[in-house]
């Protein structure tokens, strides 16, 4: 009897090792792919990454072409998107979590928000074109793009914020109510400070997704070639992914390499956003240790 168990234990341990190897292989494959892609991009683009590239305006001559206009355009669009989407998304999530109750209407809204998060971005682009660019006569402007992007990231922000709000321990919420706090006081003094780290993380991840979006911005009319910087929300603009696409579509090899350099800049912006998200999360987690 003991012998039988021993043999089974060895078989279980072997299976355990096999699964460990499978999982290791999965992560190694994804990291390897990423490394190869990154290496390819860096090899092509690194030598174009000069100060003149970062501060230069578009040009038909590759040596003179710079990325400043789409870089500033991207920062404008996501900056404005964050400004619009953060308060709107967080407020909507608070309403759904703390005020809406459990009616058929709130359940309907909930299901729709979850579905909206999965709608293809090009659909938002068409909506933006119809409503903001034409309907509200905002034209092919930074503002029209930011409003479209706001619609795009809003469902993601709402879902992420609700998760963060729900993670606040009920014991803290009841503790505050038991001292005579009103609902808004409980939200302001206990819920939001406790959830702030996760909310900010979710918002920044949603925004950084918007940073890489191309399709809806082409639809609302980002310019492929524009030689001035946007100075106010109604100016025309371009963004990094569109510039990269534009360069990559040209036959001259030098432009291909410029596209690679543009990708490095886009990745740098993305990674710094994510770094901020991680930093915020750590900062708040330390403060709100349970």
């Amino acid at each position: 009897m003991t012998g039988e168990w021993q043999r089974r234990r060895r078989a279980r341990q072997r299976l355990d090792r096999i699964f460990a190897a499978v999982f290791l292989l999965a992560i190694a494959l994804s990291l390897l792919t990423l490394a190869v892609l990154f290496w390819d991009v860096v090899r092509d683009g690194a030598r174009w990454l000069r100060w003149e590239f970062l501060t230069g305006y578009p040009s038909r001559i590759p040596e003179r072409a710079g990325i400043l206009v789409p870089l500033v355009g991207s920062l404008w669009v996501i900056g404005l998107t964050a400004l619009l989407a953060l308060p709107l998304g967080v407020a909507a999530a608070i309403y759904l979590e703390f005020y809406a109750g459990d009616s058929w209407l709130s359940r309907l809204i909930e299901a729709n928000i979850a579905n909206l998060a999965g709608v293809p971005s090009i659909v938002y682009g068409l909506l933006g074109l119809a409503v903001f660019v034409r309907g509200l006569h905002l034209g092919r402007s930074v503002l029209a793009a930011a409003l479209t992007m706001t619609l795009l990231v809003l469902p993601v922000i709402i879902v992420a914020t609700r998760e963060a709000l729900r993670a606040v321990p009920l014991s803290l919420i009841h503790g505050a109510y038991a001292l005579g706090a009103t609902r808004w006081q409980v939200i302001r003094t206990v819920v939001l400070p406790t959830a702030a780290g996760s909310i900010m993380t979710g918002v920044i991840l949603a925004i950084s997704r918007a940073l890489g979006e191309t399709a809806p911005l082409i639809t609302v009319g980002a310019w492929a070639f524009i030689t001035y910087l946007p100075r106010h929300p109604l100016d025309g603009f371009s963004v990094l992914p569109i510039q990269i696409f534009n360069w990559a579509a040209r036959p001259k090899p030098a432009f291909q390499q410029l596209a690679a350099a543009g990708i490095i800049v886009l990745l740098a912006v993305l990674l710094s956003l994510n770094a901020v998200a991680i930093w915020l999360r750590n900062k708040y987690q330390k403060k709100a240790e349970w």
Binding site: G101, D102, L179
Partner: protein, 249 residues
């Protein structure tokens, strides 16, 4: 002595499931009333009826009356915020806010618009909760750095800071070690000269040590209530006797 609560024909349902059946009892002012009974007998549910904590939980239905100082707290014109401000609560598991020790005690006064000297108030409440000497040098450190027993006394100080008339305690010692429990019980005995205290406990010895009156609940019904010593020595009901002698529970 006056009566703080008059509970009349109180029924509580969670959805379809009834958890309290037709409870009638009076709770004395400036005394300790213990509510004992086995797990699931409805004693925590009853406690939460006394400061309208059930409002926060969807699906709970309450019928009957809970009169506090003569006024039914479930009347339409009663503000539950005011009820919870006058009737404080200490929970089963210590739940200090992830803020400093000082801010935890100052929380209630702040949200209720206290205009006086906060430093004095915080010190007075921490002294009342027998915590001052242990924390006076680190008032601005996180409350989560305290031990479980200290956290529970901090929660008591936090409840005292809004100067309630009643303190409800829901098995406040169940997560504490024996020494912390003894400290908490001493505190309860000190506080009862100024506050009405209602204590839910599954620890009969604890009820015997601190309570002036004890109510025994079984399956959502009040079985027996009376002066603690008398009930422990001479229970009227057979069920009470069986529970007290450890035949079930």
């Amino acid at each position: 002595m006056g009566v703080a609560f008059q509970i009349r024909n109180l029924n509580v349902y969670y959805g379809q499931h009834q958890v309290l059946y037709d409870v009638n009892m009076d709770i004395r002012e400036r005394a300790v009333t213990a509510i004992i009974g086995p797990s699931g007998c409805g004693k925590s549910t009853l406690l939460r009826c006394l400061n309208r904590m059930h409002d926060l939980q969807p699906g709970v239905r309450i019928t009957g009356e809970v009169r506090f100082k003569g006024k039914n707290i479930y009347d339409d014109d009663v503000d539950p915020m005011e009820i919870r401000y006058r009737i404080g609560m200490v929970f089963q598991k210590p739940n200090p806010f992830p803020k400093s020790i000082f801010e935890n005690v100052a929380f209630g006064p702040r949200i209720n618009g206290y205009r006086g000297n906060l430093n004095e108030l915080v010190e007075r409440c921490l002294r009342q909760a027998a915590l001052w000497d242990e924390v006076k040098d680190r008032l601005h450190k996180s409350a989560l750095s305290l031990s479980g027993g200290q956290q529970q006394r901090l929660c008591l100080a936090r409840a005292l800071a809004v100067e309630p008339e009643v303190i409800l305690m829901d098995e406040p010692a169940s997560a504490l070690d024996p020494i912390s429990t003894a400290k908490l019980e001493d505190l309860i005995l000190e506080l009862k000269s100024r506050y009405t205290i209602v204590l839910v406990t599954h620890n009969m010895q604890q009820a015997g040590r601190v309570a002036d009156e004890t109510a025994f609940f079984l399956n959502g019904r009040l079985i027996e209530m009376g002066p603690t010593r008398q009930m422990f020595a001479n229970p009227r009901e057979k069920k009470t006797e069986e529970y007290l002698t450890g035949r079930f529970g």
